[in-house]
């Protein structure tokens, strides 16, 4: 089992590294762009999954952290003479702070429904704020022409940025994986499984949930930063409520109980989006219907089903 994992892992790593070089031969920049988009959404979805799949909390307003990360970085670069490295660090920190504020109220209130509605409300508030505060954010004109350092500029080619994004995403994944496998991650899982029991082994449920929320906000903010450098612009739409929905769907599609589940979901969704929007402007209809079908017939998601089958097979072998 372990050998298989190592081989698959290495194969994927090689594929990811070789991909742009192959694409350059075929000279298709679009696919490079698409894969970077997948990476961004995958990072967003994986960090969101810390809260959903591992923490058991369904936040409907995670677009807030993604968007805050993006806007903070863009604003710092466009409106101040802030060095790039500082903007890149400050943005997820601000996202984490917003996560702390939103999370504090959201975890305090008891009940799945309250949590869902409150997170949605907060995220909508930020969206409206960004729209109205024209002096700061230029409202729905968005911020264009974000200065990107030349070595990762996407002006001529996406290849350089591809590798940059790949490295950042890989590092973030590593950190998130360590967190998930740490004592904190295990205790967080107990919260998801049985919050009452968790309380009775001495866990302050609210504290743990809040910490998970803040960490998740931080990495979602990084995803937002990656987006800004890819598009060199940002618009209020990045905070739209529907982004929160998309990232939930990614978790559902790919499987929430598996670390790489949301990544699979992100890949599926980005590719689907690219495909569907070339035929119709009603992506929402497609998304909503898919979500309904999953909820009704397929709640464990693609990766979840595979994982379950593996688990069943393993248990059967043990019993035999």
């Amino acid at each position: 089992m372990k050998a298989a994992k190592w081989i698959t892992g290495t194969a994927i790593a090689v594929a990811l590294i070789a991909f742009p070089l192959i694409m350059e031969r075929i000279s298709s920049q679009y696919y490079l762009y698409l894969v970077v988009k997948i990476m961004i959404w995958a990072l967003f979805a994986t960090s969101f999954n810390l809260v959903l799949g591992y923490g058991g909390m369904m936040s409907f307003g995670h677009a807030a952290f993604y968007g805050v990360g993006a806007y903070c970085c863009a604003l710092l670069l466009v409106r101040t003479s802030c060095p790039v490295w500082l903007a890149v660090l400050a943005a997820p920190c601000l996202a984490a702070m917003i996560g702390l504020m939103i999370g504090y109220f959201s975890v305090k209130i008891k009940g799945v429904f309250y949590f869902a509605t409150l997170t949605l409300a907060f995220s909508q508030l930020l969206y409206i704020l960004v729209f109205k505060w024209r002096n700061l954010t230029l409202g729905d004109d968005g911020i264009q022409g974000v200065p990107v350092p030349p070595f990762i500029s996407t002006l001529d080619s996406y290849v350089n940025y591809y590798y940059c994004a790949l490295i950042v995403t890989a590092v973030c994944y590593y950190v998130l994986l360590r967190i998930v496998r740490s004592p904190f991650g295990l205790v967080l899982a107990t919260l998801r499984e049985n919050p009452e029991r968790a309380t009775f082994i001495g866990v302050n449920v609210q504290k743990y949930r809040l910490i998970a929320f803040v960490i998740s906000a931080f990495f979602s903010g990084i995803a937002g930063v990656l987006l800004v450098f890819l598009e060199t612009s940002v618009a209020p739409d990045v905070l739209k409520w529907s982004n929160s929905g998309e990232v939930i769907l990614m978790g559902l599609l790919g499987g929430m109980q598996v670390f790489l589940g949301p990544t699979l979901g992100a890949a599926i969704m980005v590719l689907l989006n690219s495909f569907v929007t070339s035929y119709t402007e009603y992506w929402g209809l497609f998304l909503g219907t898919t979500l309904v079908l999953i909820v009704l017939f397929f709640p464990q998601g693609v990766a979840g089903v595979i994982y379950e089958k593996l688990l069943q097979a393993r248990t059967k072998r043990k019993r035999a």
């Binding site: 369904m58 409907f60 109220f105 305090k108 209130i109 008891k110 009940g111 799945v112 429904f113 309250y114 869902a116 509605t117 409150l118 949605l120 409300a121 907060f122 909508q124 508030l125 409206i128 704020l129 109205k132 409520w241 529907s242 929905g245 939930i248 559902l252 009603y282 992506w283 929402g284 209809l285 998304l287 909503g288 219907t289 979500l291 309904v292 909820v295 009704l296 709640p299």
Partner: protein, 295 residues
């Protein structure tokens, strides 16, 4: 800041107006939660549909006098019927499932309805005209108010009274309240609780559609209406207590007034006051001002 009473009064009436619309929305949302333990995230979509239907009806019947009244009558009913269909076809399947899945289903409906409405009505902003009878102004305490405001306030209060009568006096109302407390008991007594749930959902969406029709002449209809109303609606329900209709009324009144008076202080960001209130409520009384209708 000198106290200009007439401005305060004007804002008070405007706040009352807003409160009534919020109440129409929040009562539906909280009713569904109280009885069926489901939060209908797509409640704003029904509201938006009501508004757009009002637009179409007033245009189709533009030649007929009283087109608005036709819309007022027909649109909410149409929305209610659609709500019934949604409950019957979709919601029923998920009552027994995890809360998370229930939330996701209604959330998915926002996407679906949003695009369907976009398909049918397009992206241009739409206008609904005031009915001629209500188009004028009336003078109260030295200020001129659109008569339509009073209409909205009147409608809200009538509905509040109607809901009270329904829930307190009629058998249906008693059944609804009983089912909210103890579903299995009501089932064992031989009542068709599933049918009851459908009726409740229809009433709730009817209320949402009504809110949409009522507000239509005062705003420009856009495809973002569903999410615009839903924040305040959620806040009202959180402040008032999920499942508690009177909490919804109280919270709607407070929220409406807070917003209206808040505009005097923070012109563009009056919404902040609402979040501030919600924050205070969450810390001090997490079940809401009047407690939850259900635990």
């Amino acid at each position: 800041m000198e106290l200009d009473w007439s401005i305060l009064f004007a804002q008070f009436i405007s706040g009352l107006c807003r409160a009534m619309v919020l109440f129409l929305m929040a009562s539906g949302l909280t009713l569904v939660f109280g009885v069926m333990r489901v939060i209908n995230f797509a409640h704003g979509s029904f509201y938006m549909l009501g508004a757009y239907l009002a637009y179409s009806l007033t245009h189709v019947f533009a030649a007929t006098p009283g087109s608005f009244w036709i819309a007022l009558l027909v649109a909410p009913v149409a929305v209610g019927l659609l709500g019934g269909a949604v409950e019957y076809v979709l919601l029923r399947r998920i009552y027994s499932k995890e809360h998370l899945l229930q939330i996701l289903l209604t959330y998915a409906l926002i996407f679906i309805f949003g695009d369907l409405i976009k398909m049918l009505w397009g992206v241009e902003l739409r206008i609904v005209n005031l009915p001629p009878i209500l188009a004028g102004f009336v003078s109260l305490a030295g200020q001129d108010f659109p008569i339509y405001y009073l209409f909205i306030i009147g409608t809200g209060m009538t509905v509040a009274l109607g809901l009270w009568l329904l829930l307190k006096m009629t058998t249906l109302g008693k059944l609804i309240r009983a089912a909210a407390e103890h579903r299995s008991m009501v089932e064992m007594l031989g009542y068709n609780v599933s049918g009851l749930f459908t009726i409740v959902f229809m009433v709730a969406t009817w209320l949402g559609g009504l809110a949409g029709v009522v507000i239509a002449p005062t705003v420009r209809l856009s495809l973002s209406m569903d999410m615009e109303i839903i924040i305040e609606c959620f806040l009202v329900v959180i402040i008032g207590g999920l499942g508690n209709i009177w909490g919804a009324l109280l919270a709607a009144l407070i929220t409406g007034e807070l917003y209206a008076l808040g505009i005097l202080v923070l012109e563009k960001y009056a919404m902040a006051f609402l979040f501030g209130l919600a924050a205070v409520v969450i810390i001090l009384r997490p079940s809401g001002l009047l407690g939850r209708g259900v635990s």
